[in-house]
Symmetry: C2
Subunit: 409 residues, 2 copies
Amino acid sequence: MSTLGNIIVGQSGGPTSVINSSLAGVFKTAKDDGARTIYGMRNGIQGLLENRFVDMKEGIKSDLDVEILKRTPSSYLGSCRYKLPDVEKDEKTYENIFAILKRLEIDHFFYIGGNDSMDTIKKLSAYAKAKSEKITFVGVPKTIDNDLAVTDHTPGFGSAAKYIGTSVKEIIRDALVYDMKMVTVVEIMGRNAGWLTASAALAKTEECDGVDMIFLPELDFDLNLFADKVKKMQEKKKALVIAVSEGLKTADGTYVCKMGDSITFKDSFGHTNLGGTGMFLANKLAAELGCKTRTVDFSTLQRCAAHITSRVDVEEAFAAGTHAVKAAFKGETGKVVVFNRVSSSPYAMLTELADVAKIANVEKQVPSEWIINDGTYISDEFLKYAKPLIQGEIAPYMVEGLPRHLVLR
Amino acid sequence: MSTLGNIIVGQSGGPTSVINSSLAGVFKTAKDDGARTIYGMRNGIQGLLENRFVDMKEGIKSDLDVEILKRTPSSYLGSCRYKLPDVEKDEKTYENIFAILKRLEIDHFFYIGGNDSMDTIKKLSAYAKAKSEKITFVGVPKTIDNDLAVTDHTPGFGSAAKYIGTSVKEIIRDALVYDMKMVTVVEIMGRNAGWLTASAALAKTEECDGVDMIFLPELDFDLNLFADKVKKMQEKKKALVIAVSEGLKTADGTYVCKMGDSITFKDSFGHTNLGGTGMFLANKLAAELGCKTRTVDFSTLQRCAAHITSRVDVEEAFAAGTHAVKAAFKGETGKVVVFNRVSSSPYAMLTELADVAKIANVEKQVPSEWIINDGTYISDEFLKYAKPLIQGEIAPYMVEGLPRHLVLR
């Protein structure tokens, strides 16, 4: 199969600090290998269905632009949360997509995203086979949540973990400044998988004692036991810093953040989508322990803080894009790029291809045997796993004191 | 007066990312100029009164340690929120302090802090004069809020502003990722002075349109006008990012965050100290505009994010410490180091001494003539003022993927 022809690439799902590095990898590799036109879908498959796409060579004009793109957070092409319907239920959508792809003479289709995006690759590649269409479909994984199966980790996780480890270290310094009892509750993303919350453990270093407790969504959360544990710990140490997952829920399946919501704004505005696990717990502790409490919610910062990314992560994200293009040009389809760990120390990682069916719609959680101290901390196995992923920095290009980004106007 | 002798230095009030750079400036300069013992108060004047202090040469052993200290957030010596009583009301406290200072044979006393700390310098220096004590008292300003009088700006503001400008730029990229209506409300510190909230305007650069509106605490806040303005703006632009001060209050003096509190957790835990201006406004908008809203609260991150400081700020903070020591060794007392702007472009700043009485207990707000667009934005005069203060970076010393800090055990 020729390495020439046209390609199209899209980004989908929640952004990360390095999802554009994967896009840069796809673009640069395809361009260098002689792709004719490199189309970019605006807002993923949803935009494609509305005939919204760009010629990426018009927006990325130089290798400098490629480097700036690698340092630009969020999704350069825009994103969507569109789940492709089953072909049996709605074949029309598939016909529309392929009509557009044919009109653009697309040979290779790349999609950078998480579970739903891999589901899209799975369905489109299956449809192509069924209709004997020559177009190849390859997925590039991304998600800060690190909850994809098969792959050792996902591009985006390492940088989010580095941001969390760095910020938590700084928060600990700040929390210890006064000679008084205080509890700081840090809320971290990851509704069902605790990989990011566990990353708070990275703050423990030679000169820093780290966080005092970590609560992951993998285990049922007990509100009263929580307060008791904090109370006991406070007898030995005045200032505590506790990391909690946004997705904590009690044994009966109630999200802690919803407990907050129910009291929060429902009555005033009839709107419940908010609250915050951290704020709810901080206030419960303030009421029960009668001490000062504080909440820090990293919210969107942990997925867009491109000014403090992991070089390992940025380069792996780029490489994932490169491998996707190389594979497609060899004729591979219905595949996704995955990482296979050879060794943690020294760090050695293989970049491979996997059948997308194996990864789509499967969620990987933190192994329960890694959760220790009666569900309040994470074991050294996690640190051994995560530390290689946060190594190295890639300095932003600073202009007038702020990071420069590449933006599609 | 001899340049030898013993000195003591303390840190007070809320920490900043560069308050330790001022401490490094005091330590390094005093050491190089031949100070005999350099004492550090644990938790400021409060700790001193409890005879808690350290010999700083034991904790800072090398020039490498000095450099790490410059890169360590929060207060290395610990801090306090202690306001010295008036001598007429409680002379005993003064007698206690001077008894300790005499026992340690202190010749020079330095205090790094904000308004209250300068008040401490004012009172102690006045007391020393009244009792013809030879000890000199010099203040080094710090506060991310930038609300001190006399000085052009305060050490700590530039780095907080750089963190805010950088993070807001990243949040804007993230907010524009979906093709849908959404409002992101970013809450920024500064209860009475809007210097930090105004810094969100720095995010407007060649490639970034910046935030859509900025609401400062200097003006009365109108909840309904706010919703109307957002609604009107949303007709032209889908995704909006709005910066609000934590200290917004309505014409009758009610804090917006308290409006949230009153509904939030009072009923459940009888505890009201929380809420969040940003979350309250985001939920009001969600209810009134029926669109997705999101809150980002920088909280303590904006004062401790030492991984992204301004080199100008770090160096000025260090220089402020140096000047304080040089002045004290010349016999100056009852003074505070201030900055006097000669030119914004090119940036030229004089470091001078001011009578501490002029700066203590005075609060400097954003000039009302700088607040434009019917109270929804900040003028270019602010950008001209703030931009020189966020220039340059000082890379953290990264160890195993995370910034190294200097910690007093």
